[in-house]
Symmetry: C2
DNA sequence: AGTGAAAGTACAGCTGA
DNA sequence: TCAGCTGTACTTTCACT
């Protein structure tokens, strides 16, 4: 199920909903240049085919007193598949861990974590992360500030690619 | 503008909309236990106060032929504020860079990037990122797989904290 | 196009400082 | 008493067939 089934209108729909996920269907239809009913059918189809995986409100963590954001680079002792999966399952349980990506290279995982304050993060780091079996090394870096946090996919790149192919 | 102005209903609204940003207002109202009009008013207030920064559809990048996701750790030669800002402005222009966070420690920035394929990323890396003045070092790691990608804020942690304070 | 549901508005009542 | 929030009633707009 690749790109090929999507026409220009589908891609516009995805771009618009990525930019504003709460747009009404009539507004969306107007922007992509079709009438509302077929537009809604397309959205449903895109959802069912998995092109749209969900919709989320972006909540300001700092305003909810989550002052600390941390990237943690984790190295494991064993990279056997069972051990990797076990570590990933742990990450899914830990609420403070918001993202967990397996990497190539010297580091095995990068985690994005949030916490209300440094001491909460420290107790998670020592009490949970570092005391997990098979965790060999953890290097943490505090986020000073965030310069960019764009959602998902750069549709301008996608369109440029398609234009070049055509 | 802190946490203190939010009551339990507001926090429930944020948690529900973070989980499903396209929920209808009546469904939301039912879940948080009030009627629809005051619920809508609360949502508008939360939006205007900046607790809700936006709504986005989550689009499956791989299905749109963005096969490559990369974390890039960037070190700069000069960390003067003007130079930091200049680099951040560049990142905001680069479509392939989806996130740019300034860090403490040995590395200055971590970037999350996506690209259709490795060669596209490589040409961005050498043509754009590495040829930017003031960029001293870049270490890149390909994402093998993503074990967790949770949006925003862990509301269970927030509620546990508030319960402990009370 | 048409029906049924949801969004949004106006107003009146309740509750706590 | 007064401010703030709630719920009911109503109109407009949207979702869906």
């Amino acid at each position: 199920m690749a790109n090929h089934k999507l026409d220009e209108i589908d891609r516009k729909i995805l771009a618009e909903l990525q930019a504003d996920g709460r747009m009404t269907n009539v507004e969306l239809a107007k922007r992509v240049g079709i009438s509302a009913p077929p537009c809604l059918r397309r959205v449903r189809t895109l959802e069912e085919a998995g092109f749209i995986k969900g919709y989320h409100a972006v909540v300001d963590a700092r305003k909810l007193d989550f002052e600390v954001e941390v990237f943690a680079m984790v190295g494991l002792q064993s990279q056997a598949e069972a051990d990797l999966s076990r570590f990933e399952a742990k990450c899914r349980q830990w609420s403070l861990v918001r993202e967990c990506h397996m990497l190539n290279g010297e580091v095995d995982f990068v985690l994005k974590c949030v916490a209300p304050d440094l001491s909460t993060f420290q107790s998670f780091l020592t009490g949970d992360l570092l005391s997990t079996p098979n965790v060999a090394s953890v290097k943490t870096s505090l986020v000073i500030r965030c310069a960019k946090d764009a959602p998902g996919v750069p549709f301008d790149v996608l369109e440029a690619r398609l234009a070049r192919e055509a």
